[in-house]
């Protein structure tokens, strides 16, 4: 199965959850101030373990950056 994570295509194991995506990106799930959206919908941190990422999904993983 595949997903577009932060604009780049990645292959993921079938049935991968949000937390698996984070791990695949090398991001610890305990890291503070993270947010994840799957296909435009925010997935709350509490649901990262239980939310499956659909095949072909668009996943965004963001955090605060310098800005004005």
């Amino acid at each position: 199965m595949r997903a577009t994570v932060n604009g780049a295509e990645r292959s993921l194991p079938p049935g991968a959850c949000v937390v698996d995506v984070l791990r695949a990106c090398g991001i610890g799930e305990d890291e503070r101030a993270l947010a994840v959206a799957v296909d435009g919908e925010v997935v709350p941190r509490t649901a990262w373990g239980g939310t499956r990422v659909p095949d072909g999904a668009r996943v965004e993983v963001v955090r605060p950056a310098a800005g004005g």
């Binding site: 932060n6 604009g7 990106c25 991001i27 890291e31 503070r32 101030a33 993270l34 947010a35 994840v36 959206a37 435009g40 925010v42 709350p44 941190r45 965004e60 993983v61 963001v62 955090r63 605060p64 950056a65 310098a66 800005g67 004005g68």
Partner: protein, 265 residues
């Protein structure tokens, strides 16, 4: 220095939250995170804005610096061109930072970075409906400001000059009209280049000033942060003091009568 305790001397209150300072800062454009940390401390600010960016583009240390500074984080929607993008970014900011405050930016083009009135208003309505506390970055347009207030925004943030230009307040008359048009707090955003600009904003009746490039790109950011804090305080107090009327003609401050060598009284 004196302490004023008179009416109007209270803190800036946005959506029921009293802020420790009328100066808000951005977090972008600093030479280093250490410069940011020192500028936050020197400014006495209670609010700092951040953008939301994909993790690859968002080095990890920023949040720690801001958290250590003990200030409220205000996520923005910088770089969004449509209401849809802005709403999605606002939701990500709420999730990431645990705050429903958002500095709403919806720009019309990448060149001028000026707000798009139509999409901005649309996004504001949507986000207010979702429970956000919305602080929109807007043109200095009193009619649009009133619409944003009517949509439920918690403040309006008119621009003094294009973002990052440091040109000051290009149309003070327009900012004064915005101030008269709404009851919510007015925060001058964008254009501030130095302390006198910040003072001028407050003298026009603004309730606060957000500075970003003025601090980050000063030769000594922490010193400029302090200077802007003083400028905001100076302008605020001058506004409350009620300035003398300006007049075209001179008027002596020493009496002419009674000069030695003159004629009898």
């Amino acid at each position: 220095m004196t302490t004023t305790t008179a009416a109007g001397a209270g803190p800036l209150v946005i959506a029921g939250v009293a802020l420790p300072s009328r100066l808000l800062l951005g977090s972008g454009g600093y030479p280093s995170l250490d410069h940011l940390a020192r500028a936050l401390a020197a400014s006495g600010t209670g609010v700092v804005t951040v953008a939301l960016r994909r993790v690859e583009h968002a080095p990890g240390g920023l949040y720690d610096v801001v958290a250590r500074a003990g200030v409220r984080v205000l996520p923005n929607t910088a770089g969004c061109f449509t209401a849809r993008e802005a709403v999605e970014t606002a939701r990500l900011g709420r999730e990431a930072l645990g705050t429903d405050w958002v500095k709403l930016e919806v720009i019309g083009d990448e060149r001028t970075l000026l707000p798009d009135a139509v999409e901005l208003l649309r996004a504001a309505e949507q986000l207010v409906g979702e429970g956000f506390t919305v602080l929109p970055y807007t043109t200095a347009d009193p009619v649009l400001a009133r619409r944003l207030e009517a949509a439920g925004c918690a403040a309006v943030m008119p621009l003094g000059a294009p973002i990052g230009s440091g040109l000051g307040i290009l149309d003070p008359h327009a900012v004064a009209m915005v101030r008269e048009a709404v009851d919510v707090p007015v925060i001058l955003d964008a254009g501030i280049g130095t302390a006198s600009d910040a003072a001028r904003a407050m003298e026009l009746g603004c309730d606060g000033v957000l500075a970003s490039s003025a601090v980050a790109r000063a030769h000594d950011p922490a010193a400029m942060a302090g200077a802007l804090a003083l400028g905001v305080a100076a302008g605020r107090r001058a506004h409350q003091a009620g300035r003398m009327p300006a007049r075209a003609a001179a008027r002596a401050s020493s009496a002419m009568a009674g000069r030695p060598g003159g004629s009898p009284a």
